[in-house]
């Protein structure tokens, strides 16, 4: 099956950082095409609690140009690793209320295995490598979410 798969240019993919409400249906329509049979989506949205405390709202900020670059890198890796067709990755910035979508990812593919694997790879890698930060607001204060340290080259001397 992989042999039959026509690799699709990343130009048809979509990456965005937005400050308004994310429209999942528009993104699903964008990745949907006749040669596909499967779309897997991931919708990450604001929970009403964090570590047992009731959340009031969240604020996201990003190193925007680098974040978009990293999102494109993730999509390029997805096309390399998985027999998928199109990818849409959108992250929202600014203030988000409970229940609002912070990140939405849609992946289309001829077969479901690749769509699942690629979608999961996308969100896992986004959370580790895309420079976006979340601040959690509670009734009695705010904290920066713990987060993950992105992997970095160990030494410039060993880098290309």
């Amino acid at each position: 099956m992989l042999g039959q798969f026509k690799v699709t240019a990343i130009e048809q993919d979509k990456f965005e950082l937005v400050r308004e409400v994310i429209d999942p249906e528009a993104l699903v329509r964008l990745v949907r095409a006749g040669q596909d049979g499967a779309i897997v989506t991931f919708d990450g949205f604001v929970r009403n609690e964090s570590h047992g405390r009731e959340t009031s709202y969240l604020e996201y900020e990003a190193y925007e140009s680098m974040a978009l670059g990293k999102m494109k890198e993730i999509a390029a890796q997805m096309h390399e690793k998985f027999a998928i067709h199109r990818v849409a990755i959108v992250h929202r910035l600014g203030r988000l209320e409970i229940g609002e979508t912070s990140v939405f990812i849609a992946v289309s593919a001829p077969h479901r295995g690749a769509a699942f694997d690629a979608c999961r790879y996308a969100i896992d890698t986004l959370k580790r490598t895309v420079p976006i930060w979340k601040k959690e607001y509670f009734a009695d204060g705010a904290v920066w979410a713990e987060g993950e340290l992105p992997p970095t080259p160990p030494s410039a001397k060993s880098a290309s």
Binding site: P131, W133, W144, L149
Partner: protein, 84 residues
Amino acid sequence: MPSIRVKVLFFGRLRELTGLAEEMGELPEGATLAQVFERYAERYPRLAGFRNSMVVSRNQEFAAWDTRVSAGDEIAFLPPVSGG
């Protein structure tokens, strides 16, 4: 030693701590990213405690601390990421 100009950015809790989002910095040619950080840690002593829980990027790529900076580079100090 001749000096170079680079753009320096802070994000998240590091930006809050320094009160500095972005500035043009003047640095000795051949300085490493670690040395750039030390300069800012002198100016903002509370930064020093975050050295092991942050990463640095050069021209929007994560970089090793011993990377040398060049004129016109864009350098950013980044706390652990928490998008998603």
